[in-house]
Symmetry: C2
Subunit: 126 residues, 2 copies
Amino acid sequence: MELTTELTIAETAERTGLTAHTLRYYERDGLMLDVPRSTSGHRRYREGDLGWIELITRLRTTGMPIRDVRRYAQLVRAGEGNEAERLEILCRHRDAVRARLEAEARHLAAIERKIAVYLGEADTCH
Amino acid sequence: MELTTELTIAETAERTGLTAHTLRYYERDGLMLDVPRSTSGHRRYREGDLGWIELITRLRTTGMPIRDVRRYAQLVRAGEGNEAERLEILCRHRDAVRARLEAEARHLAAIERKIAVYLGEADTCH
DNA sequence: GTGGGGGTTGGAGTGTGCTCGAAGTCAAGC
DNA sequence: GCTTGACTTCGAGCACACTCCAACCCCCAC
């Protein structure tokens, strides 16, 4: 039985879907909280690190720029007392994502109508 | 009364939300159908060009890479007979966009739950 | 103690999609 | 006929987010 599971960078890459290159890049760029190291200097990711990676991956996947993720990470690293600014970053992002998803849904509907026009002429797609 | 309204590149940029730079870039890169020119060589965009720009802007905004838009434009320029391939491009894109929007919606929901956690502690957002 | 497979760093390279600058052309107004 | 301003082309430059390389280190099995 293990006290805390510690994963190597390769295992973490495997589990998160990021590459080891990207994990190092994120850390260098200030997107990570402090990643623990083994005595030999190798990264050892724990449960909480995986959770953090999942969060920033969600932010990145929904289009938050690296620089905003970095700012958010800075605030989390700074500790309690700046929750209002963290919240502001998240809420602003949420609003931007909602707006973009709605716009994209409209564009998608238009593309689907275009497809319907082609299908009205010759039935080949589906 | 005008037979066909012709717009300059500046007017077209204004109406489409693209820049004149981008309009030229798209044309150079093979994304446009044939854009008519004035005797002096200036671009004169017509109704149909605006419609085309609207379509490719929808494709681009929903994440279709330039190279796929170019391929689609090639097919349209080639004329009738290749509707099946055009349809395939559009359908494949539609499927990709649907999948991405669903994934992003899930990420958004997770971010909203994160926001709710902050709000449970201190009410500052909204 | 040697070879191999993992890890480390710093820095350079890549792909995508614009974005801009330089130098030139053209038409209209004064 | 000269200035002004909007256009033209070609090519370079830029921002973003990785992606990769070289050189080195460390540990374990043989």
